[in-house]
Structure formats: C-alpha cells, structure tokens
C-alpha cells in the first residue's frame, strides 16, 4: 500500500522539516494533513500535480535523451539508409575550439582601456560576491554555487569585452545574450508602464487594453515578415521619410548594430504585450486595503504605485522575467526572416544557428548548439532562481 505513494513527484510527508520554506505555502494543507495523515488524503494532494508531472515527464524524457545522444553523433547517409556514427564530444569541440569557434564564440581582439576597466570592475564585484559566500554562513553548497557563478559570469564578461572591442565580432552566443538582456529590460519597463496606465481610471481603457495585446496574437513568423516590409527602406512605408532625411544611401542592413537594433525593435513590439497582460492582471488582483489606507494618509498616485503596488508585483515580476528569459533565449523568427542572420553573422541567434545546421542535415552539430544553449539557459535560470527569484518571491 505504502509503495504506491512513493511515485516520484507525488509523495508527500505532512510533517516534513523545513516546511516553512515557502512562506504562504505552509498553509492549511499541511495543518489539515497533520490532523489526518491518512493515505486517501495524501492521494488527494498528489492528484493535483500528478497528471501534469506525468505528461511532462513522458513527453520530455525521450526527446531529451535522444537529442543528447544525437549531439554526440554524426548523421550520415549510407547505402540502405542512414547511420549515426559516435563521435564523442567532437560536435562540441568544433564549437568551442574548432572550425565553428568564430561563429559561436566570436572573433576576439585585445580589449581597449575601457574594456579593461569594465572587466576589472566586473571581476572585482564577482570576487567580492564569491568571497562573501565563504564568509557568510550559507553552507558548502552556497559557496560552490557562488564560486561557479562568479567563474562563469566572469568568463562571459571576458568574452563580451574581447569580442565587442573594435575589430572583434561577437558570436551567436553573445548576440543571443544581448537580445535577451536588452529585450527583457525594455519589455518589462514598457509593459509595467502600460499596465500602470491601463489600471488608471481613464476613459477608453478597455480599448487600450485590447489594442496593447494585439502584437502578441500575431504568429511570430507573420510578425517577422511584417517587420521585414516595414523596415524595407526601398518599398516599405518609411522609405519616403528615410529619403527625405537624406539617408537614401544608408541602410541599417549593412551595419551589425543597425540590424541587431531592428531585430530587437521587432522583439520588443512583439513581446511587450506579454509583460503587459500578466502585470495588468496582477495589478488588478492586488488587495485594496493597503491602497485605501495609504490614500487616507494622503499618498500621491506615484507613491501609491511605487511604495504599495509595485512591491506586491515583485513575485509575478520575478516569474515573468524567468519565463521571458527562457523564451527570449529561443529567439529565431525575427532574425531568420529579417536578415537571415546577416550582415555576416551579426544577427544570428543560437537557435537560428542550430536551425541552420539542422536544415542542412548536420543534426549532430545542431543538437550540440541546442545543448550549449540549454547549458547557458539552465545556468542563467538557476542563477536567477537562486540569487533573485527565491528572495523576490519571499519578499512579498
């Protein structure tokens, strides 16, 4: 009887120590179950998560293992069909030290003085961070985590400093990171500002709410093509404006940063609504007492928002950033349709890199790029969850 309870992801120990880790989580469920820790009751709590866990498990385990295996092989046609030849880590080696290095990591150049300064600054902050991990009483796991974070983040900044120097070119890895960081920052503040505006008592706000959602509803491929025609300086709607400005001979498509900027513009247009709708819904479901009390005290609208509403949005904010981060790393349609990754490889994201390899049947190489992406995202997400998300979620 008891064995059946031990299914993974489903077991539940009513009086588990450390049950206070999630502040609001130590709710009535635990209390109730402490009172009646019998098997049927545990099945009830299990039944809330089990279907989701099982569906995810069975749909993810096989693809995950197979693609990991593919990344260690080389796909080739042989008489009678195809063969997967085991090549060990060759596909990864190609990206990190081999022929694809300049594509994946970029072309480094010695940093300028500013570069050195920035790197020095970042390195000392990271060092401080790692040292504080040793002195504070966060346990062995915390120290290792902090040290690992400091090393990887330091390497990332070193890469950025070296490839963003004049003469160097960032690879697909760094390009993707730039999209993620810039995209999320702009989208979040824009989405928050719009949600704030739409939560005000202004006439026609229902109209604005629906309008602001629109970009998200268009299929990403469609958005990418729409931006391609909008941004076309020969036959797009802004062509006459561009000519009138005397810029007829200049095109964003020839400049690495111009092209990246256009990709990011499309991304911001497309995904700000995602931030907007989630923040608006959160804003709308905030309890009213605090606001009322503060209003009685004569707080200004501005203060109300920053002191009362926004702090309560932090848990949602934190989740939102995590979800958007994971999605943003997978950006593909915009660079693929707008520029196909050009000029050169300036706008190519990691997913596009993987996709291009995959389209030419370099399945192993493509899986290796995808797995590198998985490592980067996992690292970023884990760091984020451990360094920011838990604290933010508990701060509320």
């Amino acid at each position: 009887m008891s064995k059946a309870v031990d299914r993974p992801g489903a077991e539940e120990i009513p009086s588990a120590p450390g049950a206070r880790r999630i502040k609001t989580g130590a709710g009535w469920g635990a209390a109730r179950l402490r009172a009646a820790a019998d098997w049927p009751a545990r099945q009830v709590t299990t039944s809330f998560v089990l279907p989701a866990v099982l569906l995810l498990f069975f749909l993810s385990i096989f693809p995950l293992l197979v693609s990991a295996y593919l990344s260690l092989t080389r796909f080739q046609f042989v008489p009678g069909g195809f063969a997967l030849r085991w090549v060990g880590l060759a596909n990864y080696g190609k990206l990190l030290v081999g022929i694809e290095q300049s594509h994946f990591l970029g072309v480094p150049k010695p940093p300028t003085v500013v570069g050195w300064l920035l790197f020095g600054l970042a390195a000392s902050v990271l060092l401080l961070f790692a040292v504080r991990g040793i002195t504070s009483a966060s346990g062995r796991r915390g120290v290792v985590g902090r040290a690992a974070f400091a090393v990887v983040a330091g390497a990332g900044i070193w890469l950025a400093v070296r490839t963003l120097t004049p003469g160097g070119f960032p690879g697909t890895l760094l390009t993707t990171l730039i999209y993620v960081v810039v995209g999320i920052t702009v989208q979040y503040w824009l989405g928050l500002w719009l949600a704030f505006l739409c939560a005000q008592e202004v006439a026609g706000r229902r109209f604005f709410r629906v309008v602001f959602l629109l970009p998200m509803m268009i299929t990403p491929v469609g958005i990418a093509y729409t931006f391609r025609i909008l941004m076309d300086l020969g036959k797009g709607p802004f062509a006459p404006v561009w000519r009138a400005l005397g810029l007829a001979e200049v095109s964003w498509a020839n400049y690495a940063w111009g092209a990246r900027l256009v990709v990011m513009l499309g991304d911001i247009w497309q995904w700000t609504p995602f931030m907007f709708i989630v923040l608006l819904a959160a804003l709308e479901s905030l309890p009213a007492e605090l606001i009322e009390a503060a209003m009685v005290d004569g707080a200004s609208r501005w203060q109300l928002f920053w002191r009362i509403s926004w702090p309560q949005l932090i848990p949602v904010t934190s989740t939102l950033i995590l979800i958007r981060m994971i999605e943003a790393f997978k950006i593909i349609d915009l660079p693929n349709v707008l520029t196909n990754g050009g000029p050169g490889t300036a706008t190519e994201s990691l997913t596009l890199h993987a996709f291009m390899a995959w389209r030419t049947l370099d399945i192993g190489g493509s899986a290796a790029v995808a797995y590198m992406l998985l490592f980067v995202v996992t690292f970023a997400a884990l760091s984020y969850v451990n360094l920011a998300h838990r604290r933010l979620a508990e701060a509320a």
């Binding site: 064995k3 299914r7 993974p8 077991e11 588990a16 450390g18 609001t24 989580g25 709710g27 009535w28 469920g29 109730r32 009830v44 709590t45 039944s47 809330f48 998560v49 989701a52 866990v53 995810l56 385990i61 096989f62 197979v66 693609s67 593919l70 500002w193 008592e201 604005f208 629109l214 998200m216 268009i218 299929t219 990403p220 491929v221 469609g222 093509y225 909008l230 819904a281 959160a282 804003l283 709308e284 479901s285 309890p287 007492e289 606001i291 009322e292 209003m295 609208r301 309560q312 989740t319 995590l322 979800i323 997978k330 990691l350 993987a354 996709f355 995808a370 992406l373 996992t378 969850v385």
Partner: protein, 341 residues
C-alpha cells in the same frame, strides 16, 4: 455583498495635466501597435505592383484596392484555407483548456502542499521508463513492457527502502519550467519519431498533446503566482468547516483567481495558436495549421505579402474576439480585493 461592488480606485479624478500625459502615452503606444496592423490590412488589398514599386498608403486615394488576394485564398484555394483554420481553432482551444486544467491544479498543489519525492525514487522511475521505452522501440509488446516495468520498479523500490535525499516543491517547479529551455528544433525529430510509433502523425491529437505539454509549465508558474496573492484565511476556514481540498480549490480558489485564469488562458491560447515548427513536422495533409500557410507564402519568388496579410488577418480575428471576451474577466480583478476587504 455590497462591498463587492465598491470601487477601490482613487476617489478623485485625474488632474488635467496628468490625464494629458497619460493619454499621450497611451495614444503613442496604440499608434506604434496599430500602424503595423494597418499596414497588414492595406497590404491585403494591394496588387503585387503596389507593394513592389514603393509604398502606397491609402486605398482609393493613392492606389486602387483589389480583392485578388482574398479571392485567391477564399475562392481558389477555399479548402486549403478553411481546413487549416478549423484545425488551428480545435487544436488551440483543446490544448489550452487541457493545459489550463492540468497546470492550474499543479500550480495550486505546488503552492499549498508539500511534496517530498525521494531522489532515488525519481531516478529509478526514470530508468524504468527509459527501459520500457527502449523495449517498446525494440518492438516488445506494449503491455508486456509496461507490466514488466511496473514490476521492476516496485521490486527495486522495495529493496532500496525509503531513505535518501528528497526534492522539494521548488525543485519540481524548476524542473517543469526547464522543459521549455531546449529549442524546439532540438527535440522535434525525437517527438516526430514518438508520434510515428504511436501512429498519431498528421492528426490533431498529436498537436494537442504536444502543445498541452509545452504550455503546462507556463500555466503552472503563472497560476502559482496568482494563487500566492490570494489570502489563506478563506481557505483555512473552509478547511476547518470540513470542505475537501477539491471543493476548496473549485469553489473558493478558482473564482478568486479568475483574472489570472483569463490572462493565462489567453497566453497559452496564443502560443498554441501560433506555433510553427511542431505543426510543420507532426502534420502533412490533414492536420496542417495556419502558421504553416503563412510561412508558405514565402516561396521561390519572394514573400507574397498580399496573401500573407490576408492570412494574418484571418488568424488574428478570432484571437481578438477572444481577447475582448476575456478582457472583462481580467477587469474583474476588482472583485478580489473587495471580497477580502
């Protein structure tokens, strides 16, 4: 009940200058959002030459609109436009509903209850599952493989006993969201093979299953946060009154979380409505969805903007209707605060 309808907003109207600033901001962003859409609408009435020869802006003023693209898609192709449309509607609605049902429960469970599965049990389960799948791939009969797997699992489980490290709710939640980290291009071929073995290729079922799984983590995470904002007291008093967890969840928690449900549903609906890569691989003739039709308009002679625009408009209209319908529920967030006050 009267308190429910009390408005919690600022009692005073906006000062005039602030209203102007707010309106300016709102209208600016609305223009930014609407202009590309306007361009799509206009383009759907253009002849190729109107697009090629530089921009024309206003139908009847600087060009003569033509219905050729609409006619081509609705008259000439008819079924090739309507069938994907029908598929898209069914797949998106069913999969979002399923994801919402499963994910809401899981999100709530992960917030309110404590799960402590053992790491050893998880690894054992994974290993058994891999063995069973491998056996089935080697054409062992499905029932025999699953039966053997269950037996093996129980046996080793009994030997190992109940000890060792456990994982917590946060780990489960993180595992769930991590399922979205691999780009679809990395997993599409294994998933294709999986559905091929299940003889589900080119069916709506394959897409529904895939989209449900792909959207689940988002539902779990967003709903968990919406539930977090709901006060515990109501639930606790109901629990003391002897209501079952199901009853509490259904009658107290869900109604309070309506805005979150509406927003989340809209989100996952949009995701499955617009998904491209899985749709491309898991379908061939019968179950194709509209994003494929849009991508297909870029063929050997360059993008056919006019057809593409029509398809984008066809695709976006139902979602707009849905957004307008759900917007009212998002607005009902008013109720939440009032009930608790």
């Amino acid at each position: 009940m009267a308190r429910v309808w009390r408005v919690r907003r600022a009692p005073t109207a906006l000062p005039a200058w602030l209203a102007v600033v707010f309106y300016a901001a709102l209208v600016t962003w609305a223009a930014v959002v609407l202009f590309p859409l306007y361009w799509i609408v206009v383009t759907s009435f253009k002849l190729p030459i109107h697009v090629y020869a530089g921009p024309v802006y206003l139908p009847f003023v600087d060009f003569m609109p033509s219905l050729h693209a609409w006619r081509y898609l609705f008259v000439d192709l008819r079924n090739d436009t309507l069938r994907p449309f029908e598929n898209t509607v069914i797949v998106a609605l069913v999969s979002s509903t399923l994801a919402l049902v499963l994910g809401t429960g899981a999100g709530y469970g992960l917030l309110r209850f404590h799960y402590r599965p053992r790491l050893s049990a998880i690894l054992l389960f994974t290993a058994t599952a891999v063995l069973v799948i491998a056996a089935m791939a080697e054409r062992v009969h499905g029932l025999a493989a699953i039966g053997g797997g269950v037996l093996l699992f129980l046996l080793v489980r009994a030997v190992l006993g109940r000890s060792g490290r456990t994982v917590g709710n946060d780990d489960i939640a993180f595992w769930m969201i991590s399922q979205r980290m691999l780009p679809p291009v990395a997993v599409v071929i294994p998933i294709y093979v999986m559905f091929q073995r299940l003889s589900l290729l080119d069916t709506r079922a394959a897409l529904i299953i895939t989209y449900t799984a792909v959207n689940l983590p988002i539902v779990v995470w967003l709903m968990r946060d919406y539930f977090r904002n709901i006060s515990l007291e109501l639930e606790e008093s109901a629990a003391i009154d002897g209501a079952s967890p199901y009853r509490i969840f259904w009658s107290i928690v869900l109604p309070l979380a309506t805005p979150g449900l509406a927003a989340t549903f809209l989100l996952v609906l949009v995701f499955s409505w617009n998904e491209y890569l899985f749709a491309l691989f898991l379908t061939s003739a019968n179950a194709q969805t509209l994003p494929l039709s849009i991508a297909a308009q870029n063929a050997t002679r360059g993008p056919m903007w006019w057809y593409m625009s029509v398809l984008i408009l066809i695709m976006i209209t139902p979602v707009i209707a849905m957004a307008i319908a759900l917007e009212r529920y998002i607005a009902k967030g008013l109720l939440v605060g009032a009930l608790k006050g």
